[in-house]
Point group: C2
């Protein structure tokens, strides 16, 4: 039987960094989920050096929060990530390129570091602990300002970019990535808020407000929402043709809309599907804790493997 490990898990987000002291065992099955013993949050500062400095301070703080020595640190970051070498290859928002996170954080903390990608780690947590536990092939897709996916094939999160937010689904709108037609340019939460605002000539606080106006019968909200659903459906169908997932597990802020999102998305998929298996739609279970839990699993798995 696997040992109980004590790890510090850190999820570096675009605006906020979450850290947690977590205990758990390798190969955590249902009924033996990791336990979060303490949590911390702080704003994220750009550049790799600032992130390592702040994460090292969080690690020192959380080391003092529990009675056990810490066995390892799990760190997940956004952007393009090279997991085997522990490198943050690129983040436009946070300003790094080929930054050696594992090496520098190990030097700053003296702890062993497991390094990964935030979306893939969150997907790993949904796969092991959340709403994808029974799935062999799945797409776990958090929808926030950005849209990306963890791709599960044969019960494993594969090491692949999963940039479903940046596949061209045929609409004419430009995207920040340089392409036109991206899923994210119509279905990302910031795009939904911006596009509704332009259409209704007003300002809204975010996609949740657009959802509220949709519930209240606002026709501009209905059009904006329909265009978002259409882009999501077309992106999901592309992935279905290539990877054949049994289910798409929707997470992130937009999934808080629940059936307001999944009902029209199911209908649109049914309209568009031809030869593909239409994947079941599910909502993610772990909310914004998925990234930290996934980082903890990466750290525990690293300890089990060595």
């Amino acid at each position: 039987m696997a040992r109980t490990r004590h790890v510090i898990a850190v999820d570096v987000g675009g605006t906020e960094t979450k850290a947690a002291l977590i205990s758990g065992v390798g190969d955590a099955g249902p009924g033996r989920p990791p336990t979060t013993l303490a949590q911390r949050r702080r704003p994220t500062r750009p550049t790799g050096d600032a992130v390592v400095e702040d994460v090292a301070a969080l690690v020192a703080d959380l080391r003092a929060a529990g009675p056990h020595p810490v066995d390892a640190v799990g760190l997940v970051v956004p952007g393009i990530v090279d997991e085997p070498t522990g490198t943050g290859v690129y983040s436009a928002n946070l300003g790094w390129r080929d930054y050696p996170f594992t090496k520098n954080l190990e030097a700053a903390t003296g702890a062993r570091v497991a390094f990964g990608h935030d979306v893939r780690a969150g997907g790993l947590a949904e796969l092991r602990l959340g709403n994808a536990r029974d799935l062999r092939n799945a797409v776990i897709m958090p929808i926030g300002t950005g849209i990306a996916a963890a791709l599960v094939v044969d019960h494993r999160v594969i090491d692949a970019p999963g940039e479903i937010g940046h596949v061209d689904v045929g609409h004419p709108d430009p995207c920040g990535c340089g392409q036109t037609g991206c899923v994210e340019a119509r279905a990302g939460s910031a795009a939904i808020a911006r596009r509704y605002g332009e259409r209704a000539n007003t300002r809204v606080s975010g996609a949740a407000e657009v959802a509220a106006r949709l519930r209240a019968g606002d026709p501009d909200a209905a059009i904006t929402w329909h265009e978002a659903v259409d882009a999501l459906a077309k992106g999901i169908l592309l992935v279905a043709a290539l990877l054949g997932p049994e289910a798409v597990v929707l997470g992130g802020g937009l999934a808080l809309a629940g059936p307001l999102l999944t009902d029209p998305l199911t209908r649109r998929l049914d309209e568009l599907v031809t030869f593909q298996r239409r994947p079941e739609l599910r909502l993610a279970a772990l909310g914004d804790e998925a990234g930290c839990l996934g980082a903890a699993l990466l750290a525990i798995n690293m300890l089990e493997e060595t």
Copy 2:
């Protein structure tokens, strides 16, 4: 050290079935490729029962062709395949649905059967023995009448449909699958021949003749070819965003065009790429033997695992 195995490999194609008696060892590395001792070909007859009957006859014939007892049969078929259960889920051309190939061929031959998908098995052969040997993430994409791909992630062919021929790349043409905009509807070899014929108001024998006319400066051939290349490039970019392959290995009849295909495809990818890593383009090494070699590897791997 792994034992040398003697297997019969069968690749059921849409029009022709190829079979071979092959000897090899598990985990065949460079320098220890499988050896083909005898080969047979015959036309493919539709329906699962006819395929099993004909394959059993080929197996009996090849069993008599070599001095060693045969350890197993590897069978690969087109269409939608469920490898773990040994089932041919669906083939429009060959007329089966949920047909139990492994069970029925084992009953007909008395041999153990390893069952797989023709494109994925061909990709496995390119990965272990051909032009993808050094690649960690790759797309191995035979282009014939149909277009599909074996998807390689972390040195493994993943168990996924890989239907890159049926992703929507935004053109208005209908496809036999029921969608519009499919890669195959512009870049499949039958589509190239048909679309050239319509444009030039003539008949050609196939895509190779369109390629010959392109070399000779025919402007209708140039337009048809350019549209095929454009569809292929957009399909490859979708896969690049999701899976990040280092290279795309092009096979099948259309890849016999060589630089006439890869040069404009490289240029078009360079024009379209934004954030994605532009995959290297390569030509497959194994030609139409890839499917049989892959079927042999499936059989040898099955024997090694048990």
